[in-house]
């Protein structure tokens, strides 16, 4: 019995991840729009602050991180909505796989399509804001981990607000205060790298955040999904 169960979980995770990735491929706007949003907001900053590259490069770490935070919020708003509407979230909750594991494939798929993509293209946005290319590895690494924690935390909020009318703005109120440590560690890593310091402490903290988030967040997400489904 237990053996089939183990196989079930792995098989389940693989097929669910594939399903969610397939859904994203079929509606590419869901993947592209957050990236476009990221780009657009970044363009707004030089327009508002003036084109002086030196000033921009001072502000760049903060701008990049705040915008990454906001575009992540957009992704979190959509996270469970479709699955709730077509009823598949209920099926997931009823499956034999524990719910705290069953929600992970979707998070993985979302992260691959958003966090990973955004981190990989972020050096381009960094260049636009006058960041030197040699901090690109730190930028990518910090965003890779940061987007993962943000998605895990945001999913808790998304699970809690998915059943609520106009839950989007509510989600922002719930989740943004919790993003504070991520923002601080992320910009710290970038600033250290920019000014010749050692970014490893900040990066290690982000890594710790990912580990802790992976341990704790699924439980909270599962509890949130149950609340929203009124199970």
């Amino acid at each position: 019995m237990t053996e089939t169960r183990d196989i079930d979980i792995l098989h389940y995770c693989r097929s669910q991840t594939a399903r969610h990735l397939m859904l994203m491929v079929r509606s590419p706007s869901e993947v592209v729009n957050p990236l476009l949003f990221f780009l657009l907001v970044i363009v707004l900053f030089p327009l508002g602050l003036g084109p002086d590259p030196e000033q921009l490069s001072v502000l760049a770490p903060g701008i990049l991180w705040v915008v990454a935070l906001l575009s992540n919020l957009m992704i979190c708003m959509r996270l469970f909505v479709d699955d709730l509407e077509d009823g598949s979230l209920e099926q997931v909750a009823m499956a034999r796989v524990p719910l705290s594991i069953a929600v992970l494939p979707q998070l993985l798929a979302s992260w691959l399509a958003s966090g990973l993509l955004l981190s990989l293209v972020s050096p381009i946005f960094g260049l636009m804001l006058g960041l030197p290319l040699d901090v690109a590895p730190v930028l990518v690494a910090s965003l890779l981990m940061g987007t993962a924690i943000m998605l895990l935390l945001g999913a808790v909020g998304a699970a809690l607000t998915v059943g609520v009318q106009r839950g989007g703005i509510l989600l922002a109120i719930l989740i943004l205060p919790l993003y504070v440590p991520i923002l601080i560690a992320g910009t710290r890593a970038l600033n250290e790298a920019l000014h010749g310091g050692d970014p490893t402490v900040a990066l290690a903290l982000l890594g710790a955040g990912v580990t802790g988030g992976l341990l704790l967040a699924p439980v909270a997400i599962a509890a949130g999904v149950r609340v929203s489904l009124e199970l």
Partner: protein, 244 residues
């Protein structure tokens, strides 16, 4: 021991308990508030550096201390409601949230009023101020989430989860904000309060902190009673109690 715990899960018992305690606690708290304010505002010695402006400490510090404690009261009630499904804990959690938010707001506002004469600015991005502001947003989030749900039982469970997530995060947020502050530490702002505080100033402060705790308890009981009255408006025990 178990009986006491069980009693706290019973709405009629808690309602009676509140009815019994409030007539005592209300005059004591109001009296202590008056004594503490007069003591702190009139009789405590003037600070040699800040003059009389420091006296706002007698409201600012107690409010800040209890605001943080209030979040833990709320989260604890949330935990009890999630784990043991005690309905009364839901009500307690809902009762604690607005009071805690109000305390946080008081701490922030008095801090701004205090900051103007001593630091020369209404708002400074100091680590503690910033953490207080985030605490305020956490409270507001719980209240907003509760309001968003139609079904209040579900709302309470959602709020319980959120407040627990917040509890795990509060120490991390506080540490990270401290760390962030050490990044751009402004040189000129250092105030004398961190040096050992004299007993003549300390006793009224301690008194006010205890009073603010008592006030929190009092407000919470009043809030609890009101919520119970709404929730159990159709129940026989409440109608009997109200008729008596």
């Amino acid at each position: 021991m178990w009986r006491i715990i069980h009693q706290f899960g019973s709405p009629p018992w808690v309602y009676r308990f509140c009815d019994k305690v409030i007539p005592w606690l209300m005059p004591i708290t109001i009296g202590a508030l008056l004594v503490g304010s007069v003591w702190g505002l009139l009789f405590a010695p003037t600070d040699y550096k800040q003059g009389d402006s420091y006296r706002i400490i007698y409201i600012h510090v107690p409010a800040a201390v209890v605001a943080l404690a209030g979040y833990y009261v709320m989260a604890l009630a949330g935990l009890v409601s999630l784990v043991w499904r005690v309905k009364l804990a839901d009500t307690a959690m809902r009762a604690a949230a607005p009071i805690g938010a109000a305390y946080t707001a008081i701490a922030l506002i008095t801090g701004a009023i205090w900051g103007k004469p001593t630091w020369g600015a209404w708002w400074v991005w100091d680590a503690r101020i910033t953490s207080m502001l985030i605490l305020f947003f956490l409270y507001v989030g719980v209240i907003a989430l509760f309001e968003a749900y139609e079904n209040k039982t579900v709302a309470a469970r959602a709020c319980a989860i959120l407040s627990l997530v917040g509890t795990v995060n509060i120490p991390i947020i506080y540490k990270s904000v401290d760390w962030w502050y050490s990044l751009h530490q402004p040189a000129s702002i250092k105030f004398t309060g961190s040096s050992a505080i004299d007993a003549s100033m300390l006793y009224p402060l301690l008194g006010m902190i205890i009073t603010f705790y008592a006030l929190f308890a009092l407000l919470m009981m009043l809030n609890l009673k009101q919520s119970l009255t709404e929730e159990y408006a159709q129940s026989a025990w409440l109608n009997k109690r109200l008729a008596a």
